[in-house]
Symmetry: C2
Subunit: 445 residues, 2 copies
Amino acid sequence: MTHEPVKQTLRLGIAGLGTVGASVVQMIARRADALEAAIGAPIRVTAVSARDRHRDRGVDLSGLTWFDDPVALATASEVDCVVELIGGADGAAKAVVEAAIGTGKHVVTANKALLARHGAALARAAEARGVALAYEASVAGGIPVIKALREGLAGNAVSRVYGILNGTCNYILSRMEAEGLTFEACLKDAQALGYAEADPTFDVEGFDTAHKLSILTSLAFGVEIDAEGVSVEGISAIQPLDLAMADELGYRIKLLGVAQLTEAGIEQRVHPTMVPKASAIAQVMGVTNAVTIDADAVGELTLIGPGAGGNATASAVVADIADVASGLNRPVFGRPVDRLSPPRRVEMQRHEGGYYVRLTVHDRRGVAAGVATRMAEREISIESIVQRRLEKDASSDPHGRSGRPVPLVLITYAATEGNIRAALDAIAADGLLAETPQLIRIERE
Amino acid sequence: MTHEPVKQTLRLGIAGLGTVGASVVQMIARRADALEAAIGAPIRVTAVSARDRHRDRGVDLSGLTWFDDPVALATASEVDCVVELIGGADGAAKAVVEAAIGTGKHVVTANKALLARHGAALARAAEARGVALAYEASVAGGIPVIKALREGLAGNAVSRVYGILNGTCNYILSRMEAEGLTFEACLKDAQALGYAEADPTFDVEGFDTAHKLSILTSLAFGVEIDAEGVSVEGISAIQPLDLAMADELGYRIKLLGVAQLTEAGIEQRVHPTMVPKASAIAQVMGVTNAVTIDADAVGELTLIGPGAGGNATASAVVADIADVASGLNRPVFGRPVDRLSPPRRVEMQRHEGGYYVRLTVHDRRGVAAGVATRMAEREISIESIVQRRLEKDASSDPHGRSGRPVPLVLITYAATEGNIRAALDAIAADGLLAETPQLIRIERE
C-alpha cells in the first residue's frame, strides 16, 4: 500500500488580481523551488483574469495568458486549478467556481460569502466531479484553522469553536479599550488606516464574522452550512463605559463568533463577548484573529494569527494550492455532502451563560432592590454588582441619591437568555430604567 | 486531473499500549464512523503488541492479534500501518520502525527521541519505500504544529520558530511564579501529580525540549535534524527572585526552545527565557504548550494547546493515521531527504539579543559604576537597572551600604552572548561578585 506521488505540473488560473491575487502570483514564483520540493512536481501560474488589464500591480504577468472573462479562464484547457479571488456571494465568483468544477478543475477560493451561501451545493458538485474545493483563506486569513479542524483534529468530537474572526472589529475594540475612545471615533481611524470599508456595516455589524463562523460550524460539527441560522449582533452599541466596566470586572470585550453543541442543537452566534482577561483570546489585540476549538480528546486548542492582508491571505491560498497539487482528497466539509446533518438551530432565547447587564437607572432609593427582585423571580443569580454614584449635588437626598440616571452593572451566573430578557422587560415595566439596557454575553474557557 | 480516493481499509498495528496506545485504540473505535466518512474507507486496529499481555488497560482487545514481539507485529501481513508508541531513541522502537518501513508499511510515531537521533535515516528509508513516516505527536502533543509548518505554511519562508514544548517545566515555572516557591518544592509537587518523572533530568534540564526543537528546525528550515547542535540549558537554576524581578520588569520566564535563522546559520537553543507579559506565549500556564512561528507571508502564527496526556497525544496520532489513510504523501521533513541542507550551527557566543543579568554584588560604594563600566567596554547598553538594598543596620556606612551581598539586576539592549560573558568575566575578576551571576535571555515578539 504505497502512495504514488502526483507527477504532473499543476497549472493555475488566477481569477482576480487584487492584493491577494497579486500576492499569490508572487508567492508561487518566489517559492517555486520549495513548493516543487514539497510536492514532487512544479506549480505554475499559466493564466490570469481581472477587470483592468492595464493596471500596474507590481507583478510580472508576462508569459501568462490573459482572460478578460474569468469564466473563460475557468474553463480553459491550460488550467488545472482555478483560484477564485473575485469575491462576492454570487455573480462572477459563483459563475467562475461553477464553471471550473463543471469542467473538472480543482478550485481554491478565499470567498467566505460564496461558501456561506452556496457551500453545500458547490461541495456536492466538486464531489461529483472528484475535484477539490479548498477554502482555507476564507476563514481567519493566514491561520490554518480549516486544516486544523478537518485534518489535525480528525480524531476528535468538537463541542465548541469560537473566535475573533474580524480584524476590523477587534481593532476598533482594542483602541476603544486602550484609549477610552468611542466606537465612532475608532471606526473613523480604522477607515483612515484602511482597516475598515467606507460602508463598514458588513464588518462592524457582525455579518462577516457570521459567514466565517458558518463555515467553521459545518466543519466542526459535520452539518450543512447554515449562515442564515447565525444570530448576529455587532459592536456599534458598545460604549467606552462597557469597556471600562469590563476591565474593572476582570474581562475584555471581543466580537466573537461562537458555535456550540448543546442538547437542543447547535448554537451559532456572533456578538460582543466578555472574555476573562487571563484567557489566550483576551490577549489578541488589533487586527489579529484567533480561533479556539474545544474538543473531547485534545481539550482546548487556540490558534492566533493574521486574519487579513494580502500576504497572509495568500499564504492560506498557496497552502491550499499545495494540498491540491499533492493530491489531498479530504471531503470539502470533512465528510461527504450526503453525510452532513441538516442544521439544528437553537433559538437564542435558549442560550445559557453568564451575562453582563448594564442598566441605566434613576438614582433613587430601592432601585437596586427592585432590580434584584425581578432577577430573582426569573431564577437569575447575581455574581457581582457595581453601582456608580454621581457626585453629590444640591438635589441629592440625605443618602446622596440624586434621582438622575446612573449606571448599575450586574454580572450574572449562568442563566438563559429568555429569562434575562424577561427580567429586563419586567424591570423596564417597573419604570426603573432611564435608557435601554446593555446586554453582553460572557464566554468562559 | 481528478483525485482517486483510497478505498482499502487501513489496518493498524499498535506497538506499545501505555496511556497513549490505549487511547488510540479507543479513539479509532469511538470515531470509526467519522473517520470513515472523512477518509472514504475504514480504519481498523488489527494487531497490538505490548510487554504484558495480561494487564488490564480498560480497552477491549478482543478480536485483535496479539504479538509479544513488536517487530513481528511490524512485519505482519495483516498490518498496513504501524503505530510506534514504545518510545526511546533506540532498542525496540527503532527496530519496529525500521522493520515496518523495510516491509513497505506506513509508520506513525510519537517518538521524538527516535526522530531526533535517527530522523534523517528513517525518512530516507521511508522515501525509498514510498511509505509515510508521520510524527505529529512527537512535538507539542495535541497541537497540530507539524501539519501547520509542513502544509499550512507551505507558501512561507520561516525565519523563527519558538515555543513552550515541555509541560513539566512550564508547570514548575508557573507555580514558582504564582506562589513564590522554589524550583525544588515545585518539582516535588509536579512529581506527586505525575507531571514529572522520578528522574526529572530529561525534562527540567531541557533535553526533551531540545529533541522536539530539532524536529521543528528541520521542518521549518529544510535542514537535516541536528539535535546535537542544540544549545541546552534547563530551569533548575531559576530562583524565585528571578521570577519576582521578571514580573517587576514586565516579563515572565518560560523555558523556550528557539530555532532562528541568522546570517551566520541556524541558532537552536533551549533556555529559560524572559518573554514580555503581554505576548501570547506569556499567557501559557501550567502543562500547556505553545508554538509561535515567524514567517515571511503570514507574519506571526501562534498555536496553543495540550503538550502531553494520553488523549491529546492520541489525537495527534489519529490525525496522522487519517492522513496516511487518505493517501497524504508530503515528504517527511517537508522536502525529499536529499534536498535537506546540512545543519548550519551557530555558536551560542554569537547569539544576539537582550539579556537579564542578575548579579549578587557586595553592597559597597562604586559597585554599580564598576559593573556599568565593564558592560560599556564591551559595548553593552543597559536598558534598565534595579538595585535592591537590604534594610539599614548597625554595620551600614553613612549611605546605608552594608557591604553584604545584594542583588543588582540589569536588562540589556541587544548584545552578543560573547560580549555579555566577557563583561561578566571582567566583573568577576574585579572582585565585585559574591555569587555566580544569573543570565537569562530575553526573546521579543
